[in-house]
Symmetry: C2
Subunit: 188 residues, 2 copies
């Protein structure tokens, strides 16, 4: 399933010139500073953010408490999926955890481009499929793995994470309390 990213990348690389140009014409680069919000609750997610450099996260508030749903690293695509797809107001925030550089693509422009360039439609489908598989895997972890195993899996896949992301955020990403995470780490 990880190989799917490579398939997506090679698909992009092999796009014809017009399609590539169309894509780059509707994208632009921008920087954000640590702590900046790329998206807030109640806003409509009208842009997708491809992380070029740095770390970001997505979270929502559940009775006042932040619940982190995704961590973004280089080459990840950050959007609030439901808000972006339905163009409805978002329940989620997207926040820069470090200074970041992103490539922004507007929803509206991408929608139009997809009509003119069906390969972009195919690309969009690949992104959605990848996200679906990622979600299935994450669901599997919540469905069947203990907090300890979820943590171990996380640091196996992203060993560097602990240096850059505060434990509060990691705990909430794992769906456990900060104290439990601290105890898990103490045991290992």
């Amino acid at each position: 399933m990880d190989s799917y990213i490579e398939r997506i990348n090679s698909f992009i690389k092999n796009l014809d010139k017009e399609t590539l140009l169309a894509l780059s014409n509707i994208s632009s680069e921008r920087k954000f500073k640590k702590g900046d919000l790329l998206l807030s609750e109640n806003e409509i997610c009208r842009k997708s953010y491809l992380i070029l450099h740095g770390i970001a996260r997505k979270y929502y508030l559940n009775d006042g408490k932040e619940v982190t749903t995704e961590l973004y690293f280089e080459n990840d695509l950050a959007v609030s999926f439901e808000s972006y797809t339905l163009q409805q107001s978002s329940k989620e925030y997207i926040e820069a955890l470090t200074d970041i550089t992103v490539s922004i693509t507007f929803y509206e422009a991408f929608q139009e481009a997809k009509i003119k360039y069906p390969k972009l439609l195919a690309l969009d489908l690949m992104f959605a499929e990848y996200y679906g598989m990622w979600l299935e895997n994450r669901l599997f972890q919540f469905h069947t793995m203990s907090a300890t195993d979820r943590y171990l899996d996380l640091i196996k896949k992203s060993p560097h994470i602990v240096q850059f992301v505060p434990l509060t955020i990691i705990a909430s990403y794992l769906g456990i309390s900060l104290e439990t995470l601290s105890r898990i780490r103490a045991k290992i």
Copy 2:
């Protein structure tokens, strides 16, 4: 987000005749009996099953124990997403929980049709988007809700479920033990 199904259905309804014909040409109806497996572990999921009538489920084995990942009712689309998308061998089973009637569409034929009829590509994207939103919602439940609340939510959305689906399966779908589910039900 539930309204998205209506949007998909009206999208299908409004498809041009050729596209609709192409779609119906690669689909066929079939019946299965209660207990039949539509897909087994280690098979490649080469078909999608639109449930026309009856109930089915998807599950995998986790050290010998069945973990139900999805329950399918009328108009739901049953596939093992990762196996279908990557055309790799499946970790999941799909099983008829009652006698069912389904509309089968072959992966290969649908892939070809998508090239010729970009609207089918758009339709496929909508299916993937819907599944993504469904998964996000399910993840939200595991991430933040208690077993009791997950159960209450389930019977709110599918009140009939308890009459047709054994509690063992419901418990595994909710990610709790059969005994815990029994106690939750006793309290309410």
